[in-house]
């Protein structure tokens, strides 16, 4: 899968993100690195921050479109 559909899902879930990047790590369309900075992460544990990203990408994770997902989250500070 190209990164655009995933980018859309993330933009929808994090409309106020100050940084939102998704990279295809291997060029194979199934190993992705997501980097998001959003005030939604403020005050949340790392676990809950990653949960929000996993929830935004629940469908492609469930159907196997995403084989591997690496996540880097940042709050607004």
């Amino acid at each position: 899968m190209a990164t655009e559909p995933l980018q859309k899902l993330l933009e929808h879930a994090f409309p106020d993100a100050s940084e939102l990047r998704i990279e295809d790590r291997t060029g194979g369309g199934d190993h992705f690195q997501v980097t998001i900075a959003s005030p939604r992460f403020d005050g949340l544990t790392l676990l809950d921050q990653h949960r929000l990203v996993n929830e935004a990408l629940a469908d492609p994770l469930r159907d196997g479109t995403i084989h591997e997902l690496r996540i880097k989250t940042k709050g607004s500070e």
Binding site: H50, A58, R62, E68, L69, R70
Partner: protein
């Protein structure tokens, strides 16, 4: 509740540090499981590895329990810590050591022996 789910929950509850991974600590089959294992080893954690590749049902049941979609998954004293990225990040910041001390006691390194556990019924 299925028997498999019960066995997975037993491991989560009973093992000080449970690492659900692809492969075993001795023979890791995935780069992300390896990243989590390395971070745990560096922190001196007593890791119990569970190979999710042994049966596809393990991963399904595990994610149903934890609400976490990917492998690996690290639990300390029954509580989900996170996947490879979180474990690595907590390891790099020193937070992982603090979490292990808080949950397992300051002398948790004393029993830092690696084990493997199976959640499948012996054939």
């Amino acid at each position: 509740m299925t028997e498999l789910r019960e066995r997975i929950q037993e491991v989560i509850q009973n093992e000080p540090v449970a690492l659900f991974m692809k492969g075993t600590p001795q023979f890791v089959m995935c780069g992300n499981s390896d990243r989590a294992l390395r971070a745990l080893r560096k922190a001196g954690a007593p890791v119990t590895g569970v190979d999710v590749l042994a049966d596809p049902a393990i991963r399904r049941e595990l994610s149903a329990i934890s609400g976490w979609p990917t492998i690996p998954q690290v639990f300390v004293n029954g509580e989900l810590i996170g996947g490879a990225d979180i474990t690595e990040e907590l390891g790099a910041s020193g937070e992982l050591t603090r979490v292990l001390e808080e949950k397992l006691g300051a002398d948790y390194r004393a029993e830092a022996e690696e084990r493997t556990a199976s959640v499948l019924t012996p054939a």
